[in-house]
């Protein structure tokens, strides 16, 4: 750090000098640091309440410490285990689909030769990503509804597959399929952008050479395109793992459960996010809920580190 420009003894003076010289940049960076301190780090310290009987009227300092009491309660709560199971099932399925669907979609889009058509498909495919889950959820409720303005039921009846309308969201058995399909509908087009960007960066001569060599279309895809965008694939996977327990890149678990969930399908729709919200803000069990939140955060953290470590082993390179 100090390479002779400043003599050793004036090292601290040098730091002050450097800091003042960088004052404009330093103040901008510190501004960001302060923001993170208040809105990210203060809540992290607030996790203390998970080990207390937190009482908002007397604050952290005076609230009584109860050790792991809330965690024990948590593990004894059946609803917690149901929410945890649902989170894992939905999240892992969404993670896999949320990775492969955009990748395959991007590869297929890349095969379209008509540029106008390609742009049109691409641009329309983003649209669902930009509308809120409230509206997306509203559309899904309408589509699968058994009421007269539903869409799916009349079609199925007309096709003769079912005899009378099924209220799909009232049966737990259909919930997972509805959640997954709506997730695909919402994120696939947008997720493909990053892969398309990477594909656009591949040198065209590689393809031309392979055509001369007689490579088939399919061979070109999995022997050239996929290996050439490997780095991007890794980035997407790691970013996805960061949000894994929230429902993958779309982080849809909470929204879906909150909007599509109802007392009839709760056994499969309730996830940790809704569980934490219900226990905390709605039922006022702050400490208990914070304990569940901490658990969720820690598991996510571990997942990210494992993913990062694995990528480093395989790739020799990692995100951080």
């Amino acid at each position: 750090m100090n390479s002779g420009r400043f003599p050793e003894k004036s090292y601290s003076r040098g730091m002050v000098y450097r800091f003042r010289k960088e004052l404009f940049f330093q103040s901008l960076a510190i501004l960001g640091g302060l923001f993170l301190l208040v809105f990210s780090y203060l809540p992290m310290f607030g996790i203390v309440m998970a080990f207390q009987n937190y009482n908002p009227s007397i604050g952290f300092v005076h609230s009584k410490f109860v050790g792991l009491h809330h965690f024990k309660d948590l593990f004894n709560d059946e609803a917690f285990w149901i929410a945890a199971r649902n989170t894992v099932v939905l999240s892992s399925l969404k993670f896999v689909l949320g990775f492969f669907c955009p990748l395959i979609f991007a590869l297929l889009l890349n095969e379209l030769k008509d540029n106008f058509f390609k742009k049109f498909v691409q641009t329309s495919s983003y649209l669902p990503n930009f509308i809120s889950w409230v509206i997306a959820g509203g559309m899904i409720i309408i589509f699968v509804s058994a009421a007269s303005d539903g869409v799916l039921n009349p079609i199925l009846i007309k096709l003769g597959w079912i005899k009378e309308a099924i209220p799909f969201l009232s049966y737990p058995g259909y919930y997972v399929a509805i959640a997954l399909l709506s997730d695909i509908w919402k994120v696939t087009g947008f997720g493909a952008i990053i892969f398309l960007a990477a594909i656009a960066g591949i040198d065209h001569e590689v393809y031309e050479a392979s055509i001369v060599d007689g490579a088939s279309r399919f061979q070109r895809i999995y022997k050239i395109t996929v290996p050439m965008i490997k780095d991007t694939i890794v980035v997407v996977l790691i970013l996805g793992i960061g949000n894994l327990l929230g429902g993958g890149l779309g982080s849809s678990n909470f929204n879906q459960a909150y909007i599509l969930g109802n007392p009839l399908n709760m056994g499969v729709s309730d996830v940790l996010d809704t569980y934490i919200l219900r226990m905390g803000l709605q039922l006022g069990q702050f400490s208990f809920s914070a304990a569940a939140g901490l658990l969720l955060s820690v598991i996510s953290m571990v997942l990210i580190y494992v993913a990062n470590w694995t990528v480093r082993k395989i790739n020799g390179d990692a995100i951080f």
């Binding site: 960001g32 993170l36 309440m49 297929l108 498909v121 495919s125 983003y126 959820g137 007269s148 803000l281």
Partner: protein, 293 residues
């Protein structure tokens, strides 16, 4: 080069598949549009798929007459404009500070920021921070906590680093202040990334309902999406809305359901109107993010 029959049929299958994708993607939007223009009682008979059967503008009239909806539109627009501008500017400024090569403590700042991308205190402690800052139930709860996100800062940093240093140096030699360089040179050269992040922020603000639902209780702070949530998902909310709108009149052209369609279209409208124009920017912005990791 001549295409073989096999390749041609593969192309045709691909086109058909893509057309199917377009239909699946866009039809839900179109269906809601059609239903929003149809007489509510007529819609209840079912069987409308492609065109309104009994055309009416009543749904939109009622939706706009609902004074709660007017307020919500105002709140949502305000938070979108104020929130987006302030957040983009703040994030860009912090990122500009962090983009300086050899900045002292840079590594510390970066680790501090990256940590927040992967670990958080969770909802309940966050709620109490907002509470102790007296932010609950204020308009500012929509703006201030959303000012800064480290992921966006990383995108900015990557972009700023690509701006030739010679440009900034030349300006500095000409006597421009650092602030001048940032506002008049760096920001002007950063349109693609500014547009990208503004678009994402703006859409995030426009679509948000969670903070309005849980961090405010004042009905004057309800956002459009929250109103929608209440009319779409909550039966209780529907009852409330029914009373509010006085939807008991059987001869009226609307029903609660048909107003719901109009409300949805009102909430989607601005997004559809804006986003095709910014597509090229965010494709570029994301490409940059992808390349830089």
């Amino acid at each position: 080069m001549k295409k073989s029959l096999k390749e041609k049929s593969a192309d045709t299958a691909l086109y058909l598949f893509m057309i199917l994708i377009i239909v699946i993607t866009l039809y839900p939007f179109y269906y809601c549009l059609v239903m929003s223009f149809n007489n509510g009682h007529d819609s209840n008979r079912g069987g409308i798929y492609l065109f309104p059967r009994v055309f009416t503008l009543a749904n939109y009239e009622v939706a706009f007459q609902n004074h709660q909806m007017g307020k919500a539109l105002l709140v949502t627009t305000a938070r979108t404009v104020v929130g987006t501008l302030s957040s983009v500017l703040f994030t860009a400024a912090v990122a500009y500070g962090l983009s300086k090569e050899n900045l002292m403590f840079r590594k510390f700042y970066m680790i501090m920021g990256i940590t927040t991308m992967y670990f958080s205190g969770g909802l309940i402690p966050f709620y109490f921070v907002l509470k102790s800052l007296s932010m609950l139930n204020t308009f500012m709860v929509f703006i201030i906590p959303n000012l800064f996100g480290f992921f966006n800062a990383i995108l900015f940093i990557a972009f700023f680093k690509n701006i030739p240093a010679s440009l900034k140096e030349a300006a500095r030699i000409d006597g421009a202040s650092e602030a001048f360089v940032f506002f008049r040179i760096v920001l002007r050269l950063s349109t693609p990334i500014l547009a990208t992040i503004a678009l994402f922020n703006g859409i995030g603000q426009w679509n948000s309902w969670f903070d309005s639902q849980f961090f405010t209780t004042n009905p004057n702070l309800k956002t459009l999406q929250l109103i929608l949530f209440e009319t779409i998902a909550l039966a209780a909310g529907q009852e409330k809305l029914k009373q509010q709108l006085g939807v008991t009149n059987e001869s009226a052209a609307y029903t609660l359901e048909s107003i719901r369609y109009a409300t949805m279209m009102i909430a989607i409208g601005p997004i559809i109107a804006i986003y095709p124009f910014i597509t090229k920017y965010f494709t570029k912005g994301i490409m940059l993010g992808a390349v830089k990791g």
